[in-house]
């Protein structure tokens, strides 16, 4: 009962039979649809406990919680998009570069002047459009050009960041439109707008993946593209759309970064692709495609950002953080493999 019934747990689709021995039911608890997320909840809870013990009130405060969520929001939006691409059997290494290019393009003097004369929404739509076009190029080359996703997006990683440097002339472009920063970087009912955007994207992503034709077909394309094709699904178009989707997510992330840092630069989103892929994979999405979980991805993102926060509060340097991240990724994937083997899905 792994696979696709996974997210249906909440609707009572999968009732775990309770006639097993206590030990087995404990493992069943972890291996079941809800269980995979339970493991993530426990990991996050452990991190929080460590944070509380080592940093005390500085960690528990509302402000610190919002700091964590604000940090999580940008990478979170990208990771939700990445979940779709990976579930559909692809990979996108260019997300960080697309974020940089979108942020730079949306904050050029030309765009900002236009935005000043009209509305700051121009900046937002520029970023989204740049992201979508980059994703479209990726998708077309992969689906219709029959190139490996790894190579195409690697080329985009180099190309988009290079183009961002050219446009920005390697300078930081300050966002001068205060209205934009006030709105996107502001708060609604005490909650940062960035966090709200992340929440909306996560919920929309969950619905899209689990409750719509698009999501169902994404699973099919990632699981068995040949079967999907024979069932009459336009696999190439669908694959292209997945890359456009992650491109738009990158554009949105660029908007959020512009508001958070009040500047656009070609160094935005450095190594973001690795953070996003790591969050998606420790969340339980299968790197080979065919299984994906938005809830897991959100937890993956929260685990990494909480880790960063706890380390920062304890004045530990980023190198130690990197080592800890590496260890977490390996442990998470090892655990997942164990769980998958115990679930024993026959070939």
């Amino acid at each position: 009962m792994s696979v696709a019934s996974e997210e249906r747990a909440g609707t009572g689709g999968a009732d775990v039979p309770s006639r097993e021995s206590p030990l087995r039911s404990v493992t069943a608890l972890f291996s079941g649809p809800a269980g995979r997320n339970l493991g993530l909840v426990i990991a996050l809870a452990l991190l929080c406990i460590v944070g509380m013990i080592t940093a005390g009130d500085r960690f528990v405060s509302f402000d610190n919680m919002m700091t964590i969520l604000r940090l999580a929001s940008v990478i979170g939006v990208v990771s939700v998009g990445m979940t779709f691409v990976i579930t559909g059997g692809g990979i996108d290494l260019s997300v960080g570069a697309i974020v940089a290019l979108s942020s730079v393009w949306a904050s050029t003097i030309a765009t900002q002047t236009l935005a000043e004369n009209t509305h700051w929404i121009v900046m937002v739509s520029t970023a989204l459009l740049v992201g979508a076009v980059c994703g479209l190029v990726n998708g077309l080359l992969i689906a219709y050009g029959r190139m490996a996703a790894f190579i195409v997006t690697l080329a985009m990683l180099a190309g988009a960041r290079g183009l961002a440097e050219i446009i920005a002339q390697k300078r930081t472009q300050v966002v001068t439109i205060s209205e934009f920063i006030d709105v996107v970087g502001g708060r609604v009912l005490g909650i940062p707008v960035l966090v709200l955007i992340f929440a909306i994207v996560a919920v929309a992503g969950w619905i899209l993946l689990n409750r719509t034709t698009f999501g169902r077909r994404t699973l099919a394309v990632g699981g068995n593209p040949e079967a999907a094709r024979l069932a009459g699904i336009n696999v190439k178009r669908h694959t292209t759309l997945l890359y456009v989707l992650v491109g738009v997510a990158c554009g949105l992330a660029a908007v959020m970064l512009l508001a958070r840092t009040t500047a656009g630069t070609s160094t935005h989103g450095m190594l973001m692709e690795l953070d996003a892929i790591a969050a998606v994979v420790i969340g339980g999405t299968l790197l080979s495609g065919g299984r994906g979980t938005i809830v897991g991805t959100v937890f993956g993102v929260l685990i990494f950002t909480t880790l960063t926060n706890v380390f920062t509060l304890n004045n530990l340097d980023t190198s130690t953080q990197a080592v800890a991240k590496g260890v977490i990724i390996v442990v998470a994937v090892l655990l997942q493999q164990r769980v998958a083997a115990r679930n024993g899905s026959p070939p």
């Binding site: 696709a4 699981g223 040949e226 079967a227 999907a228 094709r229 069932a231 899905s345």
Partner: protein, 257 residues
């Protein structure tokens, strides 16, 4: 004898220099099982894929219910009511039975899926085919046995109010009991009034369930006969030599089709 529901006239198909199908004529009648037999490479699977719209035929006419039709893709075939159960099953392992049966034609309002309605329809279809081997329609396909997978693939093909079902070697990888179940299922499809085309290598299966046998020999239709009027030996001869007594192709040197 009823009018054929699906008729092929002079179908040709080449892959580059290889001429795989030569002027193939074939008639499929509703309520009958037509067995399509032939040696490896005779063109059986290619013929099925041409009918299903996976391959475009080079020339020839396809008539469906008497009307000439052009099938350009799997969607066109599906809209006419032609369904194919492929040799390799074409099921997505990571999806459950309901999800597989509705793949590509999901039910729902707008974008949202209607799981309850799909689940119910899947159950009804399985019940109408007297399938009892599948416990839950929410079982992932990866955990099903070969026979169960075949059953799901066949049930998927009849879910669509389909009129013609093409089965590409449905029993090839199955054990004795499972073959039994699948053959029963094939017979039931015909009894429900569908036109069934069964590709098989197994003569016992062919003689057990089919009403007519069509033999392909090196891309040509060697013979199309009533199953009752021929013997095992004759069919085997048709498969291996293209002719048997009065039946089959004229001698190769005089063959002008």
């Amino acid at each position: 004898m009823s009018e054929p529901i699906l008729e092929l006239h002079g179908l040709n198909k080449s892959f580059g220099p290889v001429h795989v199908l030569h002027d193939v004529d074939l008639k499929v009648r509703a309520g009958e099982v037509t067995a399509l037999v032939g040696d490896n490479g005779a063109g059986k699977s290619t013929l099925v894929k041409c009918i299903a719209g996976i391959h475009a035929s080079d020339s020839g006419e396809v008539r469906f219910q008497g009307e000439p039709v052009h099938i350009r893709g799997p969607k066109d075939a599906a809209e006419l009511g032609i369904e194919v159960v492929y040799q390799d099953l074409a099921l997505a392992d990571n999806l459950d039975i309901v999800q597989n049966m509705f793949l590509g034609r999901e039910r729902g309002s707008g974008w949202l899926l209607d799981e309850a309605s799909m689940e119910q329809a899947a159950r009804q279809t399985l019940a109408s085919l007297s399938v009892r081997t599948v416990k839950s329609v929410r079982t992932p396909v990866s955990s099903l046995s070969g026979g169960q997978r075949q059953t799901v693939a066949i049930a998927k093909s009849v879910l669509w109010d389909s009129k013609v079902v093409l089965l590409d070697e449905p029993t090839a990888a199955l054990g004795v009991a499972q073959t039994r179940q699948v053959l029963d299922l094939v017979r039931r499809l015909a009894e429900q009034g569908l036109g069934v085309v069964l590709i098989s290598h197994n003569m016992a299966d062919v003689f057990e369930v089919s009403d007519r046998v069509a033999v392909l020999y090196l891309g040509r239709l060697a013979a199309e006969v009533n199953t009752k009027e021929v013997t095992h030996g004759q069919v085997v001869e048709l498969i291996t030599a293209g002719r048997s007594g009065d039946l089959g192709l004229a001698r190769p040197d005089t063959a002008t089709v």
